[in-house]
Symmetry: C2
Subunit: 251 residues, 2 copies
């Protein structure tokens, strides 16, 4: 399946039901509302958002946008996992973040997106046109305050990631990353232990400033030493959490 093909699927869905939303108010049933922008509005105010929102659906591997695209929209993940990345001209890639339900995507720089974004798993998103969202912001300043909070949270996470990339060893990076995935799962109301790790070794490597081979070796080493277990591909079980925590370098 080509990336282009599934992008089309996403687009079709998007065009398919822009209006139905303002009637049904799907946001009222949204499971991640408390995590995201929309928590700033009361139930009866949500219609102002539903009126301008559009649903987008992506299959695993689909691109959402590239950093060369005009930053016309902002997205909000409702289900699935998205990776955002930056490329160097020679092809080196840095995955600057993995985003989960409730997270916002669409950082802009000079009218273009500040990064590329691609679905790691099958994903659904809420799509807002920037201009329209700005109008709603005019009416509800508390939305802007909420967006500011979300931005600050992300900046705190970015600080941590810089420590990881600048000062941690390969083993510390993997341990930190697994613990982070676990705690983020808890934040979203999921259980902490068998961690969902839907991204490939290569994506992990590009996120942690390593190579696939190193990630593979370290993960194997952690398994052999009994800190983690790999029951099925895509899931990692934390067997000895305190060992992982010590290895993370943060303690």
């Amino acid at each position: 399946m080509s990336t282009f093909e599934v992008k089309q699927i996403g687009s079709r869905l998007a065009e398919a039901r822009p209006r139905s939303y303002s009637d049904q108010s799907p946001c009222a049933a949204c499971t991640v509302r408390s995590l995201t922008l929309c928590s700033a509005l009361e139930r009866d105010e949500l219609s102002h958002l539903t009126a301008i929102v559009t649903s987008v659906e992506l299959a695993a591997g689909d691109g959402l946008f590239e950093d060369t695209d005009d930053a016309t929209h902002i997205f909000n993940i409702t289900a699935g996992v998205i990776k955002v990345y930056k490329l160097l001209p020679d092809g080196r890639r840095q995955v600057t973040g993995f985003l989960f339900p409730g997270d916002f995507i669409g950082l802009e720089r000079d009218g273009r997106y500040a990064y590329g974004a691609e679905a790691v798993t099958h994903t659904t998103l809420c799509r807002f046109r920037r201009k329209q969202l700005a109008e709603v912001f005019q009416r509800f300043p508390k939305l802007e305050r909420r967006l500011l909070e979300l931005a600050w949270n992300e900046m705190v996470a970015d600080q941590e990631q810089m420590v990881l990339l600048g000062r941690k060893t390969a083993r510390e990076r993997i341990a930190s990353f697994l613990l982070l995935l676990s705690s983020r799962a808890v934040q979203r109301g999921q259980k902490a232990n068998p961690i969902n790790v839907p991204m490939s070794r290569n994506d992990m490597a590009d996120h942690l400033g390593l190579t696939t081979e190193t990630v593979s070796r370290v993960v194997t080493s952690l398994r052999r030493q009994g800190a983690i277990a790999l029951p099925v591909p895509g899931k990692i079980e934390i067997v000895d959490r305190s060992a992982l925590e010590e290895m993370s370098g943060d303690l």
Copy 2:
């Protein structure tokens, strides 16, 4: 001079003239207003900010706050350079950013600062109590919008830094850093060429995920190859900009 001692100096200045500000409106004469939060307000509205602002002055090497301190204030640099950093328990340090006039400091996490902050050069700052600033925000939502813009700018910069830390070689990191310092100087209305590099090799290293020795070696190498010159300590002249740009990896 101990860090504690100069902190006292800063504090004394801060207490010394909290009131004089609302009379004189120093913000009206502020040279970096266009870069910062205050650009969101008209001249006659500035009094609402000046009423709650306090001046702080730091000598080079002084700490502004540590990540264990209660995040009671937000600061705005008016002159000088501040470094913000995070420490690992074993002492490894990551300088997550160097901040210049117009930049904001005081990111919070769970009521504490998200990082430590220390003056690189002699520095002056505007200090706002968070609670009081929040009240002014209530009245002028456009301040929040401006803060959101500033936060987004910083997030864009953080993305770049992650690429640098995760995927660039030592040489590319140094070249990128020097070019960034140069372009940031231009943003603040200074000239691009003899770059002010007030931070120590050690600070640079901790910012770029390297060691002092490596920074020193690469800088020497760049000088020998004629890309840069070191007329005086603390200044670096870009002799061959396009060579630096090629070396940065971004082109």
